[in-house]
């Protein structure tokens, strides 16, 4: 696909269609004309429909609605109450899964926080205390040292110490316990599914669309059926977390295995490996560095989801944030939020250090072998870190029996920054209220509300027509059918208006994120120092669980569309920056040199060479930004938007699975339409520029 002619674009051999995607002189007037027509419809559609007495034009008639919501709810009910696999019922099945997950979860929870007990209720007697806070810090410090160096050890130790000193220890440990359980399950499950997809192309074909869907369906939408199946509590939260965090591991596994050099695979065949040996002795170890990237992702996504899943009973730091948001207790919310950030940074740095850790050098290997020879003589010498950690755990455990401070961090020594934050926010709100309010009103009056009114005014049949047309123009009749069908699905479920509000919030946020992000990306690509600062900020933004973004926004701007928009912009900024920077950095140096030799000024260079060539990458970044914006939008339902996210949230509070799933699928439908159209246009842009796929 390196030919310059757009006729050779990968989309297909139909030259007539591909021709449309060129920058032809007819293109711009066509879109402009469509926009004008749409605007007229939007402004006068209501009057018009009233005049000809065709109200159905503006509001999808309830008589035409599909009864999907009810059907799904009934089906879920049937599953839980009546379904049976012959030997056991569906309910027993879910209980079995719950038991399987609960067992290790209880164990870990006992280990890090509750302590081990026998008996239940008032008869419960503690047989062993949980690991002391000192022991847990010792563990993470040791892991940090083994993974990389003392600096990392100090960083993660400091992070955990922070949790203790600032009184977040207990909630943090609950969250940690959830992460510790969901990560191994997510990694192992993802690995096995990924291996399956690698081995059997048919399995891959079935799995791929499911993974695509799982990544576009908003997280809240999983929560509803899971809540229905497993009930409120940590197990439901863990199940949701695992489901949410597994897909990237599946993808990474398949990719990493495919990335193993052919020669390594051939070597395996030539020494006569069986299939089992080939997979576990040759392919998986060779792909290990790639797999560790997946593990890092699973950890970060698990943390993100564990926080969100506090809504269905995960407890921990997420619950602290949620309840303080509900109470509008700014100080406590912010404190818990910072604790989440601290924990996210610690976990991210640790797992990244493991991911990039080089294989040991021969000196270490020799030392290890020699230590092996010492056998019994030197248990400590062979496993210096493990033995130290065990010793610390035992000593603090024993001391803890006499001196409680060694067991759990003394409450009298905890600091709290809550009042400080509350005061600060109050100070800001008192002194800068007018400025904030002015900015908010300005944005609302001149940007948010007009866009909202415009989109809501569009008659739904015309909306579907436009989506179909765009699909046809960028990707041919297949994409047209897909886009039109999905749009019709939204309308047919009576969610058109809510979808339009989602679209409006998403559109405005993406616009602003792009306006900030793309220039930042360009700047980062052009200037090394800017790059360092921007990368650091973006990296941190990306590690934060999506929940955290809500806290400062609500404090400063209270609830509403504007707050939601700011949170979405912050969350979705990263890909816009990254892809723009990447696109510009990846331009062939010769092309830029050609520009310089032709006497381009810096501005001309940027505008005439770099930006056009980086366009495909920028479009891909836009695509990612939209996906992130949509996933965040659903979470912002917590701060009072009235879009599809709210629909899911309501379904969640009412445990109405039909409603939640349909709303979730509608968000996914929007995501899929936008994703496919943008991906198709990025592909066309690439083909037009003659870039390789």
């Amino acid at each position: 696909m390196s030919l310059a002619s757009p006729d050779s674009s990968p989309a297909g051999p139909n030259p007539a269609r591909v021709n449309l995607t060129r920058f032809n002189p007819m293109g711009a007037p066509l879109w402009l004309g469509l926009f004008v027509v749409t605007w007229i419809f939007s402004s006068y559609g209501r009057e018009f429909s009233r005049a000809i007495d065709a109200r159905w034009l503006m509001k999808y008639p309830s008589g035409w609605r599909l009864p999907l919501k009810r059907d799904i709810s009934d089906a879920m009910k049937w599953l839980v109450e009546d379904a049976t696999f012959g030997l056991f019922t569906f309910k027993e099945f879910t209980r079995g899964i719950a038991w399987l997950i609960e067992l290790p979860y209880d164990f870990v929870r006992s280990a890090v926080i509750d302590g081990f007990t026998v008996g239940v209720g008032s008869d419960a007697a503690q047989i062993a205390p949980a690991l002391s806070w000192i022991a847990i810090i010792a563990v993470v410090v040791a892991i940090g040292r083994v993974a990389k160096d003392w600096r990392l050890a100090a960083l993660v130790g400091g992070c955990f110490l922070y949790l203790a000193v600032f009184g977040q220890w207990d909630s943090a440990m609950v969250t940690l316990a959830s992460v510790l359980i969901s990560v191994p399950i997510g990694v192992a499950g993802g690995l096995l599914l990924g291996i399956g997809a690698y081995r059997w192309p048919l399995f891959d074909k079935i799995l791929r669309p499911i993974l695509d869907l799982m990544q576009t369906v908003p997280v809240f939408a999983y929560l509803v059926p899971i809540l229905f199946l497993f009930g409120f509590g940590p197990v439901a939260a863990l199940v949701a977390t695992i489901i949410y965090a597994m897909p990237p591991m599946v993808r990474v596994t398949t990719l990493a295995l495919r990335g193993v050099p052919t020669e390594i695979r051939e070597f395996g065949a030539m020494v006569g490996c069986t299939r089992w040996q080939m997979m576990w002795k040759v392919l998986v170890p060779s792909a290990a560095p790639g797999l560790m990237v997946g593990v890092n992702q699973v950890i970060m996504l698990s943390l993100n989801m564990v926080i969100i899943a506090s809504m269905i009973g995960a407890g921990g730091l997420g619950f602290e944030v949620l309840s303080s948001l509900r109470r509008l207790d700014i100080g406590a919310g912010l404190e818990a939020g910072i604790a989440i950030v601290v924990m996210a940074i610690a976990l991210d740095r640790l797992s990244q250090a493991f991911a990039v850790r080089p294989t040991p050098s021969h000196e270490e290997q020799v030392a290890h072998d020699e230590a092996d020879l010492l056998q019994k003589a030197g248990l400590i010498k062979r496993h210096p870190w493990s033995t130290t950690v065990v010793a610390v755990a035992l000593v603090t455990g024993l001391v803890g029996l006499l001196l409680p401070a060694a067991q759990s961090y003394p409450a009298s020594l905890t600091l709290t920054t809550g009042p400080f934050w509350a005061d600060l926010v109050e100070f800001i709100n008192v002194n800068f209220f007018d400025q904030f309010e002015a900015a908010k009103t300005f944005m609302l009056t001149y940007l948010l509300l007009p866009v909202k009114r415009f989109l809501l005014g569009i008659p739904w049949p015309w909306g579907i027509a436009i989506v179909t047309l765009a699909g046809w123009k960028f990707g041919g009749w297949r994409l047209a059918l897909l886009a039109g069908g999905l749009a019709l699905f939204i309308a047919a479920n009576g969610l058109w208006d809510k979808a339009m509000i989602t679209l409006y919030l998403c559109g405005v946020s993406v616009l602003i994120a792009s306006l900030i992000g793309i220039p930042l990306g360009v700047l980062a690509a052009e200037n090394e120092r800017a790059n360092r600062i921007v990368s650091a900020v973006i990296d941190t933004l990306q590690t934060l669980p999506s929940f955290v973004y809500l806290i400062p926004v609500v404090m400063l701007f209270r609830v509403g569309d504007f707050s939601a928009m700011i949170a979405v912009v912050l969350y979705a900024l990263a890909p816009a920056v990254r892809y723009a920077a990447h696109g510009i950095r990846n331009i062939e140096p010769q092309l830029i040199e050609a520009g310089i030799v032709s006497g381009c000024t810096r501005w001309q260079l940027l505008r005439k060479i770099k930006l056009p060539l980086a366009l495909p990458e920028i479009l891909l970044g836009l695509n990612q930004t939209i996906m992130l914006a949509l996933s965040m939008l659903v979470i912002t339902a917590l701060v009072g938007t009235r879009d599809l996210g709210q629909e899911v949230y309501i379904a969640l509070t009412k445990a109405d699975s039909g409603r939640g799933i349909i709303a979730g699928l509608s968000v996914a439908a929007i995501a899929i339409i936008l994703d496919r159209i943008l991906a198709a246009s990025a592909r066309n842009a690439r083909a037009r520029l003659g870039l390789a796929e």
Binding site: P261, E263, E266, A269, M270, V271, G272, C273, P285
Partner: protein
């Protein structure tokens, strides 16, 4: 006496493209004709017209025990595909591959694994070392796969590591070694199971020219000790000439000539082959036998009289010109060429100079050549 055939392939085809296996012409070609007639019934145009790529076309190869058989071709000529068909890393579209008389292609997986474990070894262009294992563990890996005990396989691995000159580096990891050292590990690993048949797929192509030379010497040294049957792939004609007992030259998926280096130089089958041989220093390849003037039995000799010419000395028929050139050039009269004690011809200064300056070797017929030789000598 010719050694038995170790590995043979008959009319092996590998076509790439949609539905390559159902391409009817291949089947027809395969079923209707006998082996000799099958050769290239299917032209490149026909294959291309069907939307396929003919990576290997009608390849016939016989590799004898103990020989170094080099498959030479430029990139895209199908040499790597052919060697992968021979080792069944790729399933050929059609044809048969016989290893020690057994059909490799119809072999069930279990048996194939057994053959590969015990009888085959392979060295790869990019070394294909496992990054997470030390040198020792890498070399011991084939034995580990077979289920050998740790002590046993490590003892054997240490032996081969010493053989390739890497003693002392057992606990290094591949990334700590230079390219040449990594390939020594690759060679050691492939030798650990004492294979009968040794595939080397461009083993030295990823190395610097100086190291490559060193590794070629090392390879010849090993072969002089081990006497394996070797299939060696290269794109470098110099390397092929240097190492090969016989060479198969490939172009566009086809084997266009299989011959000893000397035959290739003397009788290139096509212009393409001739193009390769043109810049080869012939003195290193040609033997006295191929440039000598064969003896003509004169009536006086038949009568038991002395040979008509005075000679300055004797050379053996298999001596390379390079080795004897200096002696012959220094002498005024021709040398006798001996084979097993019998005089089979003579070689003079002019003939040697022709070889050295790269003049087209004229096949000298004794009648015309005699007076010329005398002129040269006079």
């Amino acid at each position: 006496m010719e050694k038995p055939v170790k590995l043979a392939c008959r009319s092996v085809w590998k076509l790439y493209g949609p539905n390559a296996a159902d391409f009817p012409d291949v089947k027809n070609v395969m079923t209707q004709k006998s082996h000799s007639e099958r050769h290239l019934e299917l032209t490149g145009e026909q294959i291309r017209a069907a939307g396929l790529i003919g990576a290997v076309r009608a390849a016939n190869v016989e590799i004898r025990e103990g020989e170094i058989f080099v498959i030479m071709g430029l990139s895209g000529s199908g040499k790597s595909t052919l060697v992968r068909c021979l080792s069944r890393l790729i399933e050929p579209t059609a044809g048969e591959v016989l290893f020690e008389g057994r059909d490799l292609l119809s072999m069930p997986e279990r048996e194939l694994i057994e053959v590969r474990r015990r009888k085959m070894g392979m060295v790869f262009q990019q070394f294909a070392l496992l990054p997470h294992l030390t040198v020792l563990q890498n070399v011991a890996f084939p034995l580990e796969v077979q289920g050998a005990a740790k002590a046993e396989r490590e003892a054997r691995a240490r032996e081969v590591i010493e053989l390739v000159g890497l003693k002392g580096r057992e606990s290094y990891f591949p990334r700590e070694l230079s390219g040449g050292q990594q390939q020594r590990v690759g060679i050691a690993r492939s030798l650990a199971v004492e294979p009968d048949l040794w595939f080397l797929d461009e083993p030295f192509s990823a190395l610097d020219p100086l190291i490559r030379r060193e590794m070629q010497d090392e390879f010849l040294r090993l072969q002089s000790m081990l006497h394996k049957t070797i299939v060696f792939i290269t794109h470098d004609f110099d390397e092929a000439i240097r190492l090969a007992d016989r060479i198969a030259i490939m172009q566009d998926g086809e084997i266009i000539q299989t011959a000893t280096p000397e035959e290739l130089v003397l009788n290139p089958a096509t212009d393409y082959v001739a193009e390769f041989t043109r810049h080869i220093p012939r003195a290193k390849i040609l033997t006295a036998r191929s440039v000598m003037t064969p003896s003509v039995m004169t009536p006086s000799m038949m009568a038991g009289g002395p040979a008509p010419e005075i000679h300055a000395g004797d050379v053996q028929a298999d001596d390379r010109i390079e080795a004897i050139a200096e002696r012959i050039e220094a002498a005024d009269s021709p040398f006798r060429v001996l084979e097993e004690g019998e005089v089979i011809g003579s070689i003079d200064r002019q003939a040697v100079i022709d070889v050295l300056v790269g003049r087209d070797p004229v096949r000298r017929d004794p009648v015309r050549r005699d007076p010329v030789g005398r002129e040269g000598a006079g």
